[in-house]
Amino acid sequence: MNSVQLIALLTAALFLLQVVLFTSRNKLHDKQAFLWLLFAVASLIVAILLPQLNRLASSLGIAYLPAFIFMLAFFVILNLLIYQTTVISRNEKRLNLLIQKTAIQHKELEDLKREKGDSP
């Protein structure tokens, strides 16, 4: 095991630890926690299989392994970003609905109070 692989392993292990801690402290919802757990395990696997990945990169004509890893990471992060944006959009829609329902119910409550006040 060379120093590069050792650093990669340590970084992946720390990332996994961070995800586990965030999950145990309820800072991440189950679904999100599971997703990040998958990424953390995947990073660990990449770190373990670094020599094999090096061979794969060479066979694909990529001379510089980090470029291959960065390319993979770029696509993974891009996908993760779009997934997070869908989550934000969904939550925004729910928030809008909540605001609208609250406002309508507030109006109905005011109307009821007024009616009650008017009646003898």
Binding site: N96, I99, Q100, K101, T102, A103, I104, H106, K107
Partner: protein, 229 residues
Amino acid sequence: MKSNVLVIIPAYNEEDVIFETLSKLQCSSPFDYIVINDGSTDRTRTILSENHFPHINLPVNMGIGGAMQTGYQYALEKGYEYAIQLDADGQHNSDELTLLYEEIRKGDADMVIGSRFVEQTGYKGSSMRRIGIYYFQWVIKFLARIKVTDPTSGYRIVNRKVIAEFAHSYPVDYPEVEVLVRLAQKNYTIKEIKVNMNARMGGKSSITPIKSAYYMLKVTFISVIRSIL
């Protein structure tokens, strides 16, 4: 509920004009109305409360789409048969509301738009606005195969089927053109009648050249994507 028509008036920071618009509406229209105060930060809310104008206060500013959708949800819950959008800034003539109502009551349209261009009227918009209108006429023709002479007019009446549709889903911002494409693609019938529109009585338009460009691009992009898939 006095009538089966609800006039929905979205209002954001309209303290200069809201009293005049609503006073005129009360005198000239037989329909129920509701103001959706869209998180105004000026005296709009106070004016509405002090004068007992029926209104719903949104706790935060949601934009025209969110405000109108609140109105449609209210119309749906209260069982209104028709809903009309009326601008708070006095551009729409409240004495022409009955024209829209009489047209939709004929039953051959799900939405009737009050148009400035279906016949010659005295309306003169800025050249930027006219370019935008021609552009959206073309977009709607291309995507939905219908001709709408005044696609950006917010002065429109819809029936209960469309109220239910809008209460469920309505574009967040710049909704006018997008909903036309959406409705036409779902085979709803859209009609136009001639109306006169005034210049704004007060307040100022939020549309800037940059926003106009964004509006045109965004609406085109979303409409094209949603009509293909």
